[in-house]
Symmetry: D2
Subunit: 408 residues, 4 copies
């Protein structure tokens, strides 16, 4: 169980770390400060400066070959293992726009995996190749407003076969990235046969974002933030016609596609969460060493040493668990790794939220303001306790796996 | 130690509860949806509809005599005890704009207490009477960007005597309510003598918000939210001249004023936090009973019963502790009640944050969106772990009180 | 909701506190050191010195009228309210043998309540009067080894009617106090009709401890401690004949008797637990102030102030919740008070365990040794998380009560 | 960072697991039930049956070559890495007497390390060789009753040079294993020069347990248990003469020896704690699946799935952290591994205590009784939060290491 940094990946990690720290971090705040500054007043349009920042950084990354690391086991990517990728993703997690700079951002990586594994040649040409180039972006439409989507069998958006097409009707929300004007394609989970048995009622479709009948109703807010121009959109589909060729893998196989897609995505989020926790702990320490109160350096007051120690112990443990889950994926496959993925999916966001919360507290009111990245880190991490399955569902999976050993 | 609802206050609580539920709650979402809709584009201007909502509700409250409850021990108010007020404040906590409707909102109540206790006749006429009528609003400028304000002796904004005036120079931030165009007056803590002994370096001043030399630099954001049009403003004072008559109580007595001000304010926040926790628990239960997943009502899945039970037990305990702190204030005075105020100041926000967090989780992603009040509740509660002293400082006070019993 | 110490009870509390501190505490360690010193080698025989200690202290208590405080609402006792008794029980909780000294110890108080409320005249004369005098002791046989007794409907010990007697067969364990040679009578829950509906299958019987067919198999150990000579015994009943007159209240009414018995008993345990927590916190503070390490008084190291503050806040809250539950019993009756009793039953032992655990940690290894009472406190408190219903069952009750408000 | 089971160690782990489960576990309860059954009444004498059990099992282990695994990097042992040993130690942790059966028990392993690394040829011949054969046992005398031994510079037992000997005077307690009649030798930390600088005041001595002037005062109890015949003894030294040849390494080098000794010892405890947690989780699951209450299998009630999932996640993380600490020791040495050893020293016992506590709760009152090993597991794990340094000291070390990165 080799969980260390390999010789192959070590220089890449070093390059990414340096580029994140030296080139991306200095522009990240400016990028976010530009939100809402588009002349049209439309928050979901990038300003020229935003595009310039992104394009310049992406070009810099590509020219150094720091690109598409996530594409494990593939000739198109680096062929890194998931364990190796974990070390890179952790670095990318430290600054919000970094993942996109290296074309390693959600939800595109997951969607690219779908196209790669299950897509037709047309899908690969039309969508995958442009996504791999970072030319377009994509969204994944799964969660619905009317039902408990934690149980994916509840998903109700209807896809009815009519001739050589399916007609989709219903609503989706939390379509992350669908606010981005560059978002060209959706992967949509829909119910093709509500009378079928529980796990074969659903199918997965590829739909251009400009298809007729698609209406973006509003951006969902995360603690009041619309996360523009990325956005988590609420979308209505009215009689959207999807040619049968854009049904992925076959009718009733939506769950299979979803499972294949979600495993890696879940763990990528966790890797980045660990990077965020490391950033937050560094900020906590630096702040605590820089201020004075009651005649002492703040760090020497109260329980602060214990807070730091607990943070370090939790980060270490979460990272190791994440690496083990990655190693299981590499050696046993995503399905066998599922219980470990569920474990880290619960552990990593919770740990990172705790560390960020302590870092905020150490900064005083500044910690929840726009003057540090902590508040944004916190709200984004908080979404991970729902995204790709709420904690309760993952804990349930872990317990079922455990009990299986003892049931007769 | 009578902690129950008295016969006197019971009908008031009932009236407030009904008005909050039937009249204020239905308009609260509309009020907040209007933010940023002022024709000028200025988020810190109320729209006509916002003013209409506020004015109508305030008039309704006043005409029923539901007004200025917080003014305990005074002929101007109801003469309610702090314990009695606690039951009212809890109800007002359930909806964001409710406290203002009854003229019981922070920071005005605290500022009115300052004018009432320590103000000159001119202050009372010019500011207090209009605040009591709900005509103007006010702000309290204490926290500073450059220092650890948790130790108030660090406060550095300078007030230098020049003839019959003080000249103020420096910066304050987190001036809550200073974004509101109706905010007419500031109470400002400043350092009058940095060479004096630790607790007599500071003094408190009354300054009109339109005084020359005052510049509002920007709104501070709370998890990305500027809380417009109320606002938590970052303000610069450049050679602001304050006549000596507007020094409160005397030079070097800033701490005395601050202590008198903060005791009640702290506990009012806690009372409202308990109301928020009750709201959140109700939402949690209702949501859990309304959805289905994995073939069951969600509430019957996993640890949900335990989550509910823990929430109920923590709310009950926090309420009782809050009432005891109030009772101590009523019977022994704010100074003697200090350790209990510190206790509830730590306990209530933490408890409410936990309950709201669980309620968010029960709602799935909707719980962190604009479709429930939970996310806003959470971010506002989170500020209470800094406001009026961070948790760590209050815990320290509690421990010092405890240890005093055993030190020789 | 008057939760304070009344004028009536204040001097009693003071007397009890003084007697506990000055007379009982100094002999408690000696009493426990005598365990196992009986010439026969039988740990479940008191030594002469043990009996002397108990008898002398009990006589002292009786002559001052400090006796049977628990007998609320009765002419035989003080007629104290449950709230008033809470303040006394807290003091008695501070030293292990104190409750018996004042004839306020479990399980006798609960058993006396059963005799008082539901017993025949013969029961009152034969058992109750001697228990009230402190001449004999008693046990309550409910829990069984073979079933999950947390669901009392599982109780299986069989009582079969034969003529004018019931014949009992089966096993009970954790019969607390049944090791004491002075234990003269058992109250036993048995199944009289396994075919009846769920809550009327069981009945309650009065059985002399020397009845034919009763066999004490062994003492159960609590973390290795047999708690001699009190003991928590494992008992087998083989064809024990119980005359019909010793069936309490009537066949099938066992649950009714159990509920009447358990309410007060549960809360008495909680009151004493709060007293133990207070003792532990005092020990923690005194120890922390008395030792030095790394050049500082221990108390000034690490998170100790926070530990103290958290302990104080939790004790305050638990006490208030306990008093509220007591007040509910006084004003609304045990049945209506049930949700609050369940709450405090979960909260108080958990809180006290935490405080005792921190106190042990502050003492270093000494804290878990025989040189402080902390280890014994901890193990006894730990039993309260099972006794009279495990935490999980009480949390479930609290949640059901909460949800009832929202179910249609 | 290879943390997996190597091919070399895998068959050994399998052999140890089988022997623990099939041969040792069945005799463990019998061994403990024999305590106190020696004809003399002396609890610190083994009964014949106890010796028979131990000797038979040890002979079985030796004949299979399952012996002295802990002796990493040495020609005398297996030359296993610490990572490899971790997997073996985890298995041995599952049954109390197992570690001794394989001659891998504390404190002997630590003492053998001292003799191996720092001992003279005489020490090796006289003590080490017999310890390696399992013929004698040993104790380590460090902790003292009068001082805060968490700060080892407080250690006060005096060693005064007189001619060619040192004369030792003072008291030690918690000398684990010193109750065992086979315990032949002590390693003792003493203060040779209280006027020297802080870390060179102390020296380490080798003293036969039957040296003149040594008096075993009493066994210390762990939650009421004297852990006979192993014992944690309180010992007085009065004018004990120790020849200069039995000073280890040189005067003032006591800390150096202690550090060398404690690193491996600490991590061995943690490895075994993880094994105990695994056992406890298995018991929890099996019990939960075996009982019914309220019409359901207990495991399906309340929060039990979440309890299981949390336990699994914490065990996984603690094991990985333990393996990483072991790997650091193997690759960087004990000194460099210190921060990781401190981390796991805090994490592993706390985690195991929590899992065992939940397992006890799942068993109802039986869980704290003599009918399962859980209560004994719990009390022994609780000692680990003090042994080899209390949690607070280890957390402090972790935080200092962290802050060092950011201090200028």
């Amino acid at each position: 169980m080799e969980l260390g940094m390999t010789e192959r990946v070590r220089p890449l990690v070093e390059q990414v770390r340096r580029m994140v720290a030296d080139e991306i971090a200095p522009l990240d705040a400016e990028y976010h400060a530009q939100v809402g500054k588009h002349p049209s007043g439309d928050r979901f349009q990038h300003t020229d400066r935003q595009l310039e920042i992104l394009d310049t950084l992406k070009a810099r990354a590509r020219e150094q070959g720091l690109w598409n690391f996530w594409l494990t086991d593939s000739e198109k990517g680096y062929g890194l293992t998931t364990v190796e990728y974990a070390y890179l993703a952790e670095e990318m997690g430290k600054v919000p726009i970094a993942a996109e700079v290296f074309n390693c951002n959600a939800p595109d990586t997951g969607n690219m995996e779908v196209f790669e594994r299950y897509g037709t040649e047309v899908h690969k040409e039309r969508w995958l190749s442009r996504l791999l180039q970072g030319e377009i972006r994509s969204a994944y439409l799964m969660t619905e407003p009317g039902v408990a989507s934690s149980d994916a069998t509840n998903i109700a958006l209807s896809a009815r076969r009519e001739g050589d097409a399916y007609v989709l009707n219903g609503e989706k929300w939390w379509a992350s990235g669908a606010g981005d004007p560059r978002c060209a394609v959706y992967i949509i989970m829909a119910c093709t046969d509500p009378t079928a048995s529980r796990h074969v009622q659903h199918s997965m479709f590829v739909v251009p974002s400009d298809a007729e009948g698609i209406e973006v109703l509003r951006p969902m807010q995360v603690f009041g933030d619309d996360d523009a121009p990325h956005g988590h959109m609420h979308i209505r589909l009215t009689n959207v016609r999807v040619p049968v060729e854009d049904l992925i893998l076959g009718e009733g196989r939506g769950f299979e596609v979803a499972q294949g897609r979600l495993g890696p995505g879940r763990i990528h989020h966790c890797m980045r969460a660990i990077g965020q926790a490391e950033s937050a702990l560094e900020m906590l320490c630096r702040r605590g060493l820089a201020r004075e109160a009651f005649g002492k350096t703040i760090i020497d007051l109260g329980a602060n040493y214990d807070i730091i120690a607990e943070a370090r112990m939790e980060i270490e443990q979460a990272r190791l668990l994440c690496l083990k889950a990655a190693w299981m994926m590499d050696t046993e496959g995503t399905r066998a790794a599922q219980p470990w993925i569920s474990q880290i999916k619960v552990v990593a966001p919770r740990m990172a939220l705790k560390v960020v919360d302590e870092a905020m507290q150490m900064h005083g009111a500044m910690g929840i303001s726009q003057d540090t990245p902590l508040a944004r880190m916190w709200t984004q991490l908080r979404t991970l306790r729902f995204a790709d399955g709420p904690d309760a569902v993952h804990r349930r999976q872990v317990a079922r796996t455990e009990l299986k050993r003892y049931r007769n």
